[in-house]
Subunit: 449 residues, 2 copies
């Protein structure tokens, strides 16, 4: 494809149609697989009784900033030809689905039944520099539960179970869902006598990027911890076990005491116990997981590919006690988890791990042998369509070989030949086997259907 | 719900969670109906062999402006904390799906099979002042065909047929799809000796808003037409008939001659003839329809509610000869039609014409009679789910009456009681009839499923 930005004489200038970096789009044979993924995710979310919610792509900037997410990531709007009372300047595209959901629950508080369980599959936008696995527009699939005053721990275990079913059903390559509890971290640091536990959490959260040595350095130099405190923090972060009994035992061995630690450990153990039936390695307590966002208060989740440890998290979430409380004078805690659909999908596509679909959804192409037979072809197509089949009619009378070639190129599995003369039989050709047989439009179904 | 923007002592300030004007969002019992609509639309689009395409929400501003759509409507992006080489300033949210689709076809020209038939259901954004039927963010469902050099007229008739099936299946109140052909208008005005036919088209396009008298005035004063020319233009615009033969006859009676008029009239008649089997009144040739956008060149469509004539168009589209040609040095004409999903849906909702769905997708709620029976309840739920049912488990042991009330409030039709003692039967209560009977988790299905 030749693209030039110079105008030929007499022509309008050509605007380059190149895709914009960080804003992915797929060819039809890829999109059809993404649709199957979305259908599977929806089916599984609904099978656990989560209802669908969508919110506007746009929120007021003060809503987006209510919990202090870095403003650098937000795309704000401006009208190209704004007039004096333009109010779009205070609007921005949402950067996640948790903040909009909390705002939604506060806005419709009197009309919802609690605990309110919803799923939300939408695009989100972040003004980041694109790199592998990082897009500026991408789709997330979130499930969250918000309740009045208290969210039962039941949900902290139900959400990873649902995510496990989704990733397994989609055939995503091996992953681990790491679980921790912010109360364990905060209680442990408090029990150690650390003055600012949140500062320690933020440093430990960088373990992936700077490693144990880097974290240890920062704990000493920036957070001002004594050597034995640093060592204890690193020992805690090194705990990575699957069983509820073992995680309790390993933390107890570090001999730090605090009520908050006990509470967090009880919660973490209860969640692990509830998930004990899942396959080994799929859910692990990893006490280095902190999740940087301030709004998490209890359970936190982070899933990663086993084979691509540096790829970043493919699912994440946690428990937030006071997010909706930014918008309404009620205590509305929640817990949620987000599947990074575009990130996972694009990675599998790049690795050649997706089997692409056909370029057309049609089960069968009905040919138009001649202008005289066009009406009969259209009526046959309508008859097949009425029986639930997906049927493309060729768009004009043409050589049959050309029409068959069109079906092949679009990945349509069968070609239907209406009879050339009244009284003769319909015929259908299976493009996979090459077989051509007589067929009855009132009863035929494609072998694969 | 009390909302105050003043902070209580010791609390963070409350950010008002009110919805933003022009950005609709639905409660779960409304959203579930919107989902059913989207499913129906997708099923029908695919049944005609159209594949799914999605494009980014964002395009380069010069792409959005390639065909001169009024820039006032576009929301451009800006990063809140942009650095020196911020490139987001040249990006904007798309205001329709036709321009992005044309850009997509040009960008992926070598990878697509032509004629390329796609459907695209996405949100679009317009920086307009909100009013009834006008949103700033809304969902459109588009079907278009783009081909190299020439698009067969077959598609000009197939698209209204598909729209007819969609609106009928959705149970949308009576509407009419009005069809015209820009060649008829342009050829007629040329045959009349009008110097600037496009200026006349733009004036006639305002018939809905300013009426025959207003259009007549503007044709005389602004377009400089002589009284007999004005009269001929108004006579043409007054033609509104369903049959192909009649539209030809009525235009011929006006005794204006031009080759382009003949060509347009042949096309219009052919499209009407192809659609003659549709119910009377559903498709009508209306020679006042012009569609303001410059990029239409042949067939144009515009659907309206019969009972709300002032509501504006609910579907629109037409044939464009050179839209993708803005992006690539190929002739890539197309024809398309767009269903204004949000506009139609919101109108029916406002008129009380939608039967709302349940607030939960679950078929059945499995209760947790006691902590001791929780594991049995979860396992029964998993068993039912494994058989394809949508099953919510109550989130904690609680009074049974409270758990049943929760199901009633969420619109869940059945409540499942796992046995209190091993060896006793499972029971299920139908909340519609009130009947409670024994049930087998390996075979039970809800009566409505």
């Amino acid at each position: 494809m030749v693209q030039e930005n110079v105008a030929a004489p007499g022509d309008a200038p050509i605007v380059r149609p190149l895709p914009i970096s960080g804003f992915p789009e797929w060819l039809p044979e890829v999109r059809v697989i993404e649709q199957r993924w979305l259908d599977t995710i929806r089916r599984i979310f609904e099978s656990y009784g989560f209802c669908s919610v969508e919110t506007p792509s746009v929120e007021a900037l003060d809503v987006l900033m209510a919990k202090g997410e870095t403003s650098q990531e937000v795309y704000a709007l401006r009208r190209l030809q704004a007039d004096a009372d333009d109010d779009s300047a205070r609007l921005g595209l949402h950067f996640d689905l948790t903040v909009p959901f909390a705002r939604y629950v506060a806005a419709h508080f009197n009309e919802l039944v609690f605990p309110f369980k919803r799923y939300q599959t939408q695009r989100v936008w972040r003004g980041e520099r694109p790199q592998e696995g990082r897009f500026r527009e991408f789709t997330q699939c979130d499930i969250d539960v918000i309740n009045v005053d208290r969210v039962p721990l039941h949900f902290d275990a139900e959400l990873p179970r649902i995510v496990h079913e989704v990733l397994t059903t989609l055939g995503v390559p091996p992953w681990t869902l790491n679980i921790n509890n912010r109360k364990v971290l905060q209680g442990f640091y408090e029990g150690l006598g650390v003055a600012d536990p949140l500062a320690v959490i933020r440093i430990v959260d960088r373990m992936d990027k700077i490693g144990r040595v880097g974290v240890g350095d920062l704990l000493a130099t920036r957070a001002g911890l004594a050597p034995d405190q640093v060592q204890a923090c690193l020992d805690l972060a090194a705990i990575r076990v699957a069983s509820d009994a073992e995680v309790v035992e390993r933390v107890r061995e570090l001999r730090v005491k605090s009520d908050l630690l006990d509470e967090g450990l009880d919660e973490l153990a209860a969640v692990l116990a509830d998930l004990a039936d899942l396959p080994a390695g799929s859910v692990v307590a990893d006490l280095s997981i902190a999740r940087g966002l301030d709004y998490y208060t209890g359970t936190v989740y982070e899933a990663k590919f086993v084979d691509w440890p540096d790829f970043g998290s493919i699912c994440s979430g946690g428990r937030y006690e006071n997010l909706a409380g930014s918008f309404i004078r009620r205590s509305l805690p929640g817990v949620g988890i987000s599947i990074g659909l575009t990130r996972i999908f694009a990675k599998l596509l790049a690795e050649g791990l997706l089997t692409l679909g056909p370029a057309s959804p049609a089960d069968v192409l009905v040919v138009i042998p001649s202008a005289a037979r066009r009406a009969a072809a259209l009526s046959t197509a309508a008859q097949l369509r009425g029986r639930g089949l997906r049927v493309e009619t060729y768009h004009q009378p043409d050589k049959l070989a050309k029409q068959v070639r069109y079906a092949v190129r679009k990945g349509i599995g069968h070609v239907w030949f209406p009879p050339f003369d009244d009284g003769r039989d319909h015929e259908v050709k299976d493009l996979t086997t090459g077989d051509q047989t007589t067929a009855d439009p009132t009863g035929w179904t494609p072998p694969s259907a």
